[in-house]
Symmetry: C2
Subunit: 354 residues, 2 copies
């Protein structure tokens, strides 16, 4: 690989006083890497954040051959910059790449470039409680060609966006609608890849759920519309009569990094977590028998989202008021403390910037 080139922006943007809506403000620079068949990945560069020229016949405007990741950089009270399991995000990017016929990247090299980019932009990382710098690596097909086959050209980008606290006033339970008509993904499809298609497939269901006052949908499996899969942008956990359960990774669920962290943390606390099939009927039955003790989502954006209301068809399940000795609350505290350097990292998940 060539050496990373750094082209600094001659004018810097004003950093916002307060971080506003998620994903609308971007930092001064971005990382770009090109791929061309025969040449491989080449031309790594950190350059000013700017629009790019895209041909109207570019593959990415037609056939959805694109994948992405989402992760965060956190600033500790001592001003140290920390990433949470960044390598796992790039390993997942490579797994998504395989499914989408996109060439593999050199994870170590791209991680190095990410570190340099964040170093350069470290003043963009907000410092208020719960804020962070959202990191969006993505790869898109860029060949100008209208046929349906893998592109011969790609671009990898990493862009950065300062984001506010998800729960500025402490954990707030969310309202979730169990989706019983639309399907996000099915075994043999793209569900376990972090690729555009899955999000496109989610738009209409999410829109209908929002219009009914829910914040996200809970997807059921595409074959039977029976087994629980995951929430819009989170994996899901239940605590039923003492048993902690999350749907097993079955090919149509995104293997969340927060999901994996939660499982490992719970195990380190001596609790068992069962990764298994769980039907929505089992959840309803548990609720009816007053055995549904908790439900919560896990994901990079909110870390942990306790479920306050879960609605399945006409059945509205209100979960007990969120209490601070719940598992959801304990997990949230523990993982966010790790991320902000307030908890000793025995898992080797934190990568501090040198």
């Amino acid at each position: 690989m060539q050496e990373l080139k750094i082209i600094k922006s001659t004018t810097l943007k004003d950093k916002p006083e307060q971080v506003g809506d998620f994903g609308t403000i971007f930092t001064d620079h971005m990382f770009v890497l090109d791929y061309e068949e025969g040449k491989g990945w080449h031309n790594p560069v950190i350059e000013p954040y700017q629009p790019m020229l895209v041909d109207p016949a570019s593959a990415i405007l037609h056939y959805g051959q694109g994948i992405f990741e989402g992760m965060k950089a956190y600033k500790t009270n001592d001003g140290l910059v920390q990433l949470f399991r960044p390598r796992d995000n790039f390993l997942r990017l490579n797994r998504s790449a395989e499914r989408l016929c996109i060439p593999q990247i050199d994870v170590d090299f791209v991680l190095e470039c990410l570190n340099k980019l964040i170093e350069l932009e470290s003043e963009w990382i907000p410092t208020k409680e719960g804020t962070s710098l959202y990191i969006r690596p993505y790869i898109v097909a860029t060949e100008s060609f209208l046929g349906v086959r893998p592109s011969h050209k790609y671009k990898l980008f990493i862009i950065l966006s300062p984001v506010g606290a998800y729960y500025p006033e402490g954990l707030k339970p969310v309202k979730i609608l169990v989706e019983d008509k639309f399907v996000r993904a099915v075994a043999g499809g793209l569900g376990e890849a972090k690729t555009m298609a899955n999000y496109a497939a989610s738009l209409l269901a999410a829109q209908e759920a929002k219009s009914k006052g829910f914040s996200q949908v809970l997807w059921l499996d595409g074959v039977n519309l029976k087994y629980v899969e995951e929430v819009g942008t989170m994996n899901i956990f239940f605590k039923i009569n003492g048993e902690i359960i999350t749907p097993a990774l079955n090919g149509s669920i995104l293997p969340g990094i927060t999901r994996d962290s939660v499982i490992k943390v719970l195990k380190s606390w001596g609790l068992t977590v069962n990764e298994r099939k769980i039907s929505i009927d089992e959840v309803v039955e548990a609720f009816d028998n007053e055995l549904l003790e908790e439900a919560f989502g896990t994901g990079t954006a909110a870390v942990i989202s306790p479920v306050g209301i879960l609605q399945y068809k006409d059945k509205k399940m209100e979960l007990k008021d969120f209490e601070s000795d719940s598992i959801a609350h304990k997990l949230y505290d523990f993982i966010t403390k790790l991320q902000y350097g307030k908890e000793n990292d025995t898992f080797d998940w934190i990568k501090s910037l040198s």
Copy 2:
């Protein structure tokens, strides 16, 4: 709607002597229409074909909220320009839009603009037997925003590409592999929309099939991997013991315009076509009993593609050598004659440019 603005290119490209690979050469101009929430569709313009500026956070690079169409303009021996059922393509675009939470377009207006664009580019329509001008209308989400929700901004494009004859030496049977592992779409998903996700989902299966010497895959349903759905970019028909069968539109199959035309032509010939569920086992059994008389794909690109070899797992089904009195051949002749103005259009499918 504002009036269509036409900005002519000051330099025109050389038109190719011979049309080469599909989808690589584009004409001098394109049609562009903008959408913004609150403003609706606006700013219709025919302008020079050129790259556009895309922000790295543009929705289309992340969440796959994009749809498209594919159709053709044909030149008759008298130099007349003809479109085949263009309104149906834009009606389908609107149905795809609905599924993808994209605002509806005014079909009549866009058809008018398309006519003007093709008029301007009519010299680009190749005249050799079987050649045509491929028309690619598409809509992409263009808001710069990283959240998962429908974009507030869109662009509609129509670009044009001269294409060669699909079968320069007459109909050639294709080799198709029945896909028994990967799934393209499932009921409740995006299968019946012409949207990026479905093509992204097809890449790996198609690549594996190509490496084994097949030209496309035949998809089975996502629930049971049992019922026949469609081919990569074609719908599928079988003739079994005299019965003509095509899978019924079930929500996960693209409602092909060629499929619809074939059904109507066959009916006009006094033949019955059954749109019904058909399992791959039924096809194999018919083959074993020497009752599988024909199989062919239907789609805009090739019109009709007779299947020469259909392979399901270890079962290689070789279909009888293509004969000119087959239904596939008759349909191909009839529909291409309509398209090139050599057959009287009793269906009202042909729209000649004024």
